[in-house]
């Protein structure tokens, strides 16, 4: 299994678009570092993850990297190279899924560490134990950071699962990318409207719950509790996983 996951990582990192994604991360670090005012480094990475989660930036990046993960193999014919190996199709899918999670987590860590260093050098690193003043209710910055990034990592698993599921069902890579973009963007627009008009139904949408860290600062757009959000994400994820695995292991590649 480790060999298979390595394979997927190699494939992703050898593609040009991964450099594009790293470039976008670099620009993001620069911009948010420059606009950090007099925040310390520790404060600024809380602002970052909060900002990331409320603008659905991570789903965009993840779908840029993974929306063609399976569809490209199908359209390029390299899926044959995979299937002919003595590996079950379920293991092929799971290895792509795990590689996706690892890489999306790495992107998040890269952003956080990059920003921490940049702002740290510019404004000073600050203390993890001081109380978070900007957002949060009296928690220490260190605690808030751990909680926020924990939730962010969970929602990344859900994001990767959804995007890989799309790629499993749609053989055309650019169509898969387009649809994931459309879902991500339309959900974020809907959420703003929902907040205005108190629409309740939206909180059942998986994409709405990708803003998990929002729960920690009481500014959750979906007006639902954290356990509820986690449940919704979990249910959708199991559904996506099952549907994708069934589809991928039963379909014909012809």
């Amino acid at each position: 299994m480790i060999g298979l996951i390595t394979n997927e990582m190699v494939k992703i990192f050898r593609q040009l678009k991964m450099w594009g994604v790293l470039g976008i991360c670099f620009i993001l670090i620069l911009l948010s570092g420059m606009s950090s005012g007099d925040q310390t480094a520790a404060q600024s990475i809380i602002t970052l993850t909060y900002g990331l989660s409320s603008f659905l930036f991570l789903p965009l990046l993840v779908s840029l990297v993974f929306s063609d993960s399976i569809s490209n193999e199908v359209s390029q014919g390299t899926i044959k190279l995979l299937i002919v190996q003595p590996i079950s199709r379920i293991r092929i899918w799971i290895s792509k899924w795990i590689a996706g999670i690892i890489i999306s987590w790495s992107i998040l860590f890269l952003l956080a560490i990059g920003l921490y260093l940049f702002v740290g050098i510019k404004n000073g690193f600050g203390s993890w134990s001081s109380v978070a003043t900007i957002i949060g209710h009296g928690k220490s910055i260190g605690m808030l950071t751990i909680q926020m990034y924990g939730l962010q990592l969970l929602s990344l698993i859900s994001i990767v699962t959804f995007i890989l599921a799309l790629s499993t069902f749609i053989d055309n890579a650019s169509l898969a990318f387009g649809i994931s973009m459309a879902i991500v963007i339309s959900t974020s627009i809907l959420l703003v409207l929902a907040q205005k008009h108190h629409w309740q139904a939206l909180k059942f949408l998986f994409a709405a719950q990708w803003m998990l860290p929002g729960h920690l600062v009481n500014e959750d757009l979906t007006s639902s509790s954290l356990p509820f959000g986690l449940t919704i994400l979990g249910v959708w994820m199991v559904l996506f996983l099952l549907l994708s695995l069934i589809r991928f292991s039963r379909r014909d590649f012809s």
Binding site: L4, R14, Q15, T78, K80, V84, Q85, P86, R250, S254
Partner: protein
């Protein structure tokens, strides 16, 4: 254990059907291949060759029927069965942004017990050492084809499946491929399954051939019997007119060959008698040789008969 079952056959297909909603693409195909045997599956484009191959490597699942690879059931015991197989399906597709070597590394990581030595050996076997560290996107089709074979033999499989392997190869590449296949079959006792729509290309390397049309396997024959059956003799003489008279005296049926002095006669002719008669009339024999049936002959005949059947059935 399924692997301890008799491995009399490298590949066994039993009553394989593949149906899509509105049509049957493969109908009741059964065949078996022994270790060391080179089997050619022949048929026009769209006859179902690629579908059969895709079923053999697990890309497409049969609607019914069983496939055994080295005695392992492909459906029930997929991972064990498929590890005996190396394959190129249709075009050899690789990751263009990786080098040939990196592509082979992808295969190595997915297989059990493949070493760096194995990669080196496979690359040497197909003669690709010089370009193996170049990106595959810069390869010619022939090089991709060779990389495909290297990939297929990496884990020393018992059955090699090659789908239209000569597609896009120049004559030199074709000759190389043939010698590779022959070496694999005869030296390593690997069973080879080749599909092709170009008959003459596989004629030289196959032990047995099967003809497929409209998803049905029409027959399986061994090459020797095809070559020899109903064989004919070509005779080239110094005096065509005289020879023709002799044939007429003997009451033999003959065909005129491509020149005035050459004739084609049945393989069952009494050749002693003919030689004696010709010698008596002082006609020199310049050539006396068997005319081998080519696959094309057999193929065309079968296809023609089948067309007639179709037409009769239609009426």
């Amino acid at each position: 254990m399924s692997s301890t079952r008799s491995n009399k056959f490298a590949l066994e297909m039993k009553q394989i059907y593949k149906k899509y909603s509105h049509k049957t693409v493969v109908e009741d195909v059964s065949l078996s291949i022994k270790p060391g045997e080179v089997f050619g599956l022949l048929g026009p484009n769209g006859a179902g060759k690629t579908t059969i191959i895709r079923m053999l490597v697990g890309l497409v699942q049969p609607s019914s029927g069983e496939i055994h690879l080295m005695g392992c059931d492909l459906k029930r015991n997929y991972e064990e069965a498929i590890q005996h197989v190396g394959a190129i399906v249709e075009t050899p597709d690789f990751y263009g942004f990786l080098t040939g070597y990196q592509n082979l590394m992808q295969c190595k990581r997915a297989k059990k017990g493949v070493s760096h030595e194995d990669i080196k050996r496979a690359v040497q076997f197909v003669n690709l050492e010089e370009r193996i560290h170049d990106k595959v996107s810069s390869y010619s089709l022939g090089m991709k084809q060779r990389l495909g074979i290297a990939q297929a033999i990496l884990h020393q499989p018992q059955l090699l499946i090659l789908d239209e392997p000569t597609n896009g190869l120049d004559p030199l590449g074709m000759r190389e491929l043939r010698s590779i296949v022959q070496r694999l079959a005869k030296e390593m006792n690997i069973a080879v399954f080749i599909s092709s729509h170009i008959l003459s290309e596989v004629q030289e390397i196959c032990d047995n051939v099967g003809f497929i049309k409209n998803g049905k396997l029409l027959f399986v024959r061994d090459m020797k019997s095809i070559e020899m059956e109903q064989s004919k003799f070509r005779i080239v003489v110094s005096d065509g007119q005289m020879t023709q008279q002799i044939f007429e005296q003997l009451g033999w049926i003959f065909d005129v060959g491509d020149t005035l002095n050459s004739f084609i006669i049945s393989g069952s002719s009494d050749t002693n008698k003919l030689v004696k008669e010709l010698a008596l009339s002082e006609v020199g024999i310049l050539r006396f040789e068997p005319v081998l049936n080519t696959l094309e002959d057999v193929f065309m005949e079968t296809m023609k008969e089948d067309d007639i059947h179709d037409r009769v059935n239609y009426k």
